[in-house]
């Protein structure tokens, strides 16, 4: 089992490395969207400090959502997905490995870049770890929940916009808890409650999402 997981993660990371620009696009999208907001609402530092957690989180949501189409699309196109459905290993396990690899290339960069954006928005230094931690707990939920949508819309015309319609309402709790963690820490209330709830949701999603993704993939491949 461990060897299988490792092999899938390695394969996906290798493929991502061969197509580095795809990975870079997601990260650049995240940076650009966040940088657009001060241009829209004005450079007033107090205002920026207030809206920073929300903006960074919404941008992370959108970046994660846009990267989802890469999750299964190319494998669906070249038939690798059919082989995975036929494989002896449980499909749920394969899904977990693929989601983890996808998170490493689309979610983790956002976590690592978040302090840089926090500087841009003049957030207090003690909030950097809270923001990064909330993204660290939240982005895997986005990837796992989004994988359900990606599997359901596999190979459909207009799949991208449809994916947004399916997935964004389900992202609401993550956005509230993630941005709320930073807000609560900024207000001196402590972010523990939000972060614990995010962690609970991560456990819940990691338990049930692979099943839903497997079912959706089987439906799409029929």
């Amino acid at each position: 089992m461990g060897a299988l997981l490792l092999a899938i993660v390695r394969r996906d990371l290798l493929l991502a490395w061969r197509r580095r620009t795809d990975v870079a696009t997601v990260v650049l999208f995240f940076l650009i969207v966040v940088s657009l907001f001060p241009l829209g609402v004005g450079p007033e530092p107090n205002l920026l400090r207030t809206i920073a957690p929300g903006i960074i989180w919404v941008a992370a949501l959108l970046a994660c959502m846009l990267s989802l189409q890469q999750l299964f699309a190319s494998d669906h196109a070249d038939g690798v997905l059919d082989q995975m459905l036929l494989a002896a290993a449980p499909l749920g396990l394969i899904v977990i490995a693929r989601a983890f690899a996808h998170w490493l290339i689309s979610g983790l960069p956002l976590v690592l870049l978040s302090p840089l954006l926090a500087v841009q928005f003049d957030l207090q230094a003690e909030l950097y770890p809270v923001l990064a931690l909330s993204l660290l707990l939240g982005t895997p939920i986005l990837t796992l929940t989004g994988a359900i949508g990606a599997a359901l819309t596999l190979g459909l015309r207009g799949g991208g916009m449809l994916l947004a319609l399916l997935v964004l309402p389900l992202y609401v709790p993550v956005l509230i808890l993630g941005a709320g963690a930073v807000d609560a820490a900024a207000a001196g209330l402590g972010a523990d409650a939000h972060l614990l709830l995010l962690g609970a949701q991560l456990v819940l999603t990691a338990t049930f999402a692979p099943w839903a993704v497997s079912t959706a993939l089987r439906i799409a491949a029929e």
Partner: protein, 258 residues
């Protein structure tokens, strides 16, 4: 040993509970039920609105504007219930692989979206005179709005898939994922709201309702139930005809629709 071979069916009390799972047998049954539920909805609606608008007393805090709850509250109740019903049929369809269950889920979605929209709209109409604003990001309103998006997602997904079988089953998975998420969404929104701002007026702290108000509301709630059933049955009949277009039994219906 001598019993005739039977299809695997759920037999209990001498009744084959799967008999009406076949679109062919359900189509005429739905046809007979629609007028009953439709007329019951119409009568209950007239009675409920009469009690609500003419008999129920004026509220001493909110004046006449409170009367919108006779439409608003039943619509809001039904909007949530319909999603549960949709998820139920989706689960039945995925488990037993019955086509009719999926058709029921598909038929419920537009009615659910309509009632959700009605609840939001009447809520806004009530909010303007009472809270002084059309929209307040109140926890209930926000989660109702997200419910509307969930309905749109379900309908969008089914509309986006050409193969009916895949559309059915993909929609079913989405409905089940949505129903698991609804409590999480509701509580996160509620918590987010209390962190940011309190609700200006809470329904729970309002004085206890007069008996006639309650009667009007319950009548309207029943009317909403019956309307939903009638509308869904009507829509499911259309879906059956669409899907079974090539089947032999639909030919007389196609040539001479009743």
């Amino acid at each position: 040993m001598n019993q005739p071979a039977q299809p695997p069916a759920l037999w209990a009390g001498g009744i084959n509970w799967f008999k009406y799972a076949a679109p062919q047998t359900f189509y005429p049954l739905a046809g007979t039920m629609i007028p009953w539920f439709g007329w019951a909805a119409a009568v209950l609606c007239v009675a409920g609105l009469y009690i609500g608008f003419f008999i129920a007393p004026t509220d001493h805090q909110q004046g006449e504007s409170y009367r919108i709850i006779f439409i608003h509250v039943p619509a809001a109740w039904m909007s949530m219930l319909v999603y549960l019903a949709m998820a139920f049929w989706a689960a039945v369809g995925l488990t037993f692989n019955t086509r009719l269950s999926h058709m029921m889920a598909t038929a419920l979605a537009p009615t659910g979206a309509l009632l959700t929209f009605l609840a939001l709209w009447t809520g806004a109409l009530w909010g303007k005179p009472t809270w002084g604003t059309w929209w307040a990001w109140d926890a209930r309103m926000t989660s109702e709005l997200i419910l509307l998006f969930l309905y749109f997602g379900f309908m969008g997904l089914q509309a986006g898939i050409d193969d009916p079988r895949r559309a059915d089953r993909a929609g079913a998975v989405l409905a089940l994922v949505g129903v698991v998420n609804i409590p999480i969404i509701y509580f996160s929104v509620k918590w987010w709201n209390t962190l940011h701002q309190g609700a200006s007026v809470s329904l729970t702290s309002a004085p206890t309702m007069a008996a006639t108000m309650l009667a009007g509301m319950l009548l309207m709630a029943l009317a909403a139930w019956f309307y939903t059933i009638a509308a869904t049955l009507h829509r499911v009949r259309s879906i059956i005809l669409e899907r079974e277009h090539g089947a032999e039994w639909t030919r007389p219906l196609r040539e001479n629709p009743r």
